[in-house]
């Protein structure tokens, strides 16, 4: 049997495998982040936090519509100050497991992004993911910052100037040219790109004659998102040299391989927790390893970007 090495170098972090718990999925407590790590994730991302506590949207906030999931949780979070304790606790719990912690932040203004980044940096996460692309809070925050180069660059530069921790910018799929935005944020100092956030969509219940989600619009994830994510990662990988955390619809080891082949360095996993349970985080990594053995890829590097050349 050929030996296979699934260890993943992400910036200066060594991940035991490339599977990263995506933001917004069970990353709401120390125990849940630890559980994701124990299930086998290579790194874990906490739920996004912002400047102040938010309850989120009223129910219904999510459902499985068949082709994927849709959600508009509404950035429920305890606020950055309270998040520091959670992140510090998670970091301490993850340290012995050798699993890096990624914090995730959002805000309503460029200045607030910098401030929230400064606050969460106190907890010492290994990476800060900057969520400029949540599709579900448009009423309060306007068009996501990820929608245009200028706003994406402004947030990136402000956060980069505020903290000494590496930052990943999380991009939105619903833009005319995602590669252009990726190149602009890298130019502004982004150390990595997370691509992609969910795709805005809507589920209407025909008998009820109205959208199901209380927010009406929500983010599409799961299988329906995968081809969109693969295209985005492919385009970004051709435009920038920084690592990409390829996220969107990965539900198996094969899906993870496809994401790496599109050019991702690591692979975010989220909705698979519903389809397969928390164990999916470890199982997908094991399936990837099995795929690599079968297809004779000794390392992730041997596979990375081969579909994009």
């Amino acid at each position: 049997m050929p030996t296979v090495d699934v260890r993943c170098r992400l910036l200066d972090l060594e991940l035991r495998n490339p599977i990263v718990l995506a933001s917004g999925i069970i990353g709401t407590s120390v125990a849940l982040l630890k559980r994701a790590a124990e299930a086998g994730a290579g790194a874990v991302t906490a739920k996004s936090c912002g400047p102040a506590p938010r309850a989120g949207h009223p129910n219904p906030v999510a459902l499985d519509w068949g082709g994927g999931l849709i959600n508009a949780i509404g950035l429920t979070n305890p606020g950055a100050e309270a998040e520091v304790d959670l992140l510090a606790g998670a970091r301490a719990a993850l340290e012995p497991l050798g699993v890096p912690l990624i914090a995730s932040i959002f805000a309503g203004t460029v200045e607030e992004f910098a401030e929230v980044a400064r606050v969460v940096a106190r907890a010492g996460p290994q990476l800060i993911e900057v969520n400029i692309s949540c599709p579900n809070v448009g009423d309060e925050f306007g068009t996501p910052f990820a929608g245009a180069c200028q706003s994406a660059v402004a947030v990136t530069a402000a956060v980069k100037g505020a903290v000494g921790i590496p930052i990943a910018i999380k991009l939105a799929p619903n833009v005319p040219d995602i590669a252009r935005i990726a190149a602009a944020v890298v130019e502004a100092g982004a150390d990595a790109i997370t691509a992609i956030n969910t795709m805005p969509g809507m589920i209407i219940d025909a008998e009820a004659g109205r959208p199901v989600l209380s927010n009406k619009v929500g983010g599409i994830s799961g299988p329906a998102l995968k081809p969109i994510a693969l295209r985005c990662v492919y385009e970004i990988a051709r435009a920038v040299r920084v690592p990409i955390i390829g996220t969107g619809g990965v539900n198996s080891g094969r899906d993870a391989a496809e994401m790496l082949m599109a050019g991702a360095t690591a692979v975010g996993v989220g909705s698979a927790v519903w389809y397969r349970g928390v164990g999916a985080l470890g199982e997908i990594g094991a399936e990837l390893e099995e795929f690599m053995r079968h297809e004779a890829y000794p390392t992730l590097e041997a596979m990375r970007g081969i579909a994009a050349s």
Partner: protein, 259 residues
């Protein structure tokens, strides 16, 4: 794995059976195949969506107490009115053994009655401990008796049955006639106490927990169960919607989330 999904589907109210002034059972025209202990997310468009345990599947039945806008609106629906449900969700009870002790507190008795029906049909012997705050809050005692179950009643104010918490009746029942498995549904404190009782008696138990629930599909983290000390089962990081609502515990093992 991915499948057909779980969109809401409208279910039509066939009848509402009042139980007490603020509680009733909605019976629907359409069946919804599920196991006792599983739940549905019930949505009234424009009102709210919340989890409800199933009180029966054919006909589909939901026992509802008017505690908020959604439950009050559900109890006021006319016959022919519609409720949108997604589910069944979660892991339900499993029949284990021949002698079953069921313990319900407050509204927790509704899913246990569903379990009792299935258990009796499978030839099990069922004993039930039912607790409530007062006699007026007591639910479904006669339904358990009709099934042939031995029923022990407690009320906190002593207005019906023995005075005290349902855990008193559980203790007496365990000592009088040791069951193969204990099944319980009720408030978190009650279940934490029953978990400890069962551990002390080295009994397997299946406990159905309640929590603030939002997505219902294991993503949002809202329903992580936080137990009062020194309760230990299920452990931290346990999600009521995805891992539960029923926890399975055998004596002498530490609870691993999601198992």
């Amino acid at each position: 794995m991915t499948g057909p999904g779980q969109l809401h589907r409208p279910y039509t109210v066939a009848a509402i059976r009042p139980i007490n002034p603020r509680t009733g059972t909605l019976l629907f025209r359409e069946p919804l195949p599920a196991q006792p202990g599983q739940f549905v997310m019930a949505w009234l468009p424009g009102v709210d969506e919340r989890p409800f345990s199933l009180a029966g599947t054919d006909p589909l039945a939901l026992t509802i107490a008017a505690v908020g806008p959604l439950s009050a609106a559900l109890l006021q629906l006319p016959v022919g009115g519609r409720v949108w449900l997604r589910g069944p969700l979660g892991r339900g009870y499993r029949l284990a053994g021949r002698r079953l002790l069921l313990a319900g507190g407050g509204y927790g008795v509704a899913p246990l009655l569903f379990l009792a029906r299935e258990a009796v049909a499978a030839g099990c012997q069922v004993e039930a401990c039912i607790g409530a705050r007062t006699a007026a809050d007591m639910l479904l005692v006669e339904d358990f008796e009709k099934l042939g179950a031995a029923v022990h009643i407690t009320t906190e104010d002593g207005s019906r049955g023995a005075a005290g918490l349902v855990t008193l009746a559980v203790e007496a029942a365990i000592q009088a006639h040791r069951p193969d498995t204990v099944y319980a549904c009720g408030p978190v404190k009650m279940l934490a106490a029953i978990d400890q009782q069962c551990e002390a008696h080295r009994l397997p138990r299946q406990l159905s927990w309640e929590a603030h629930m939002r997505c219902g599909i294991g993503l949002c983290g809202s329903c992580e169960l936080i137990l009062p000390e020194p309760a230990a089962h299920p452990g931290p990081g346990w999600l009521v919607c995805l891992d539960g609502p029923v926890s399975f515990q055998v004596p002498g093992t530490s609870k691993v989330p999601g198992t």
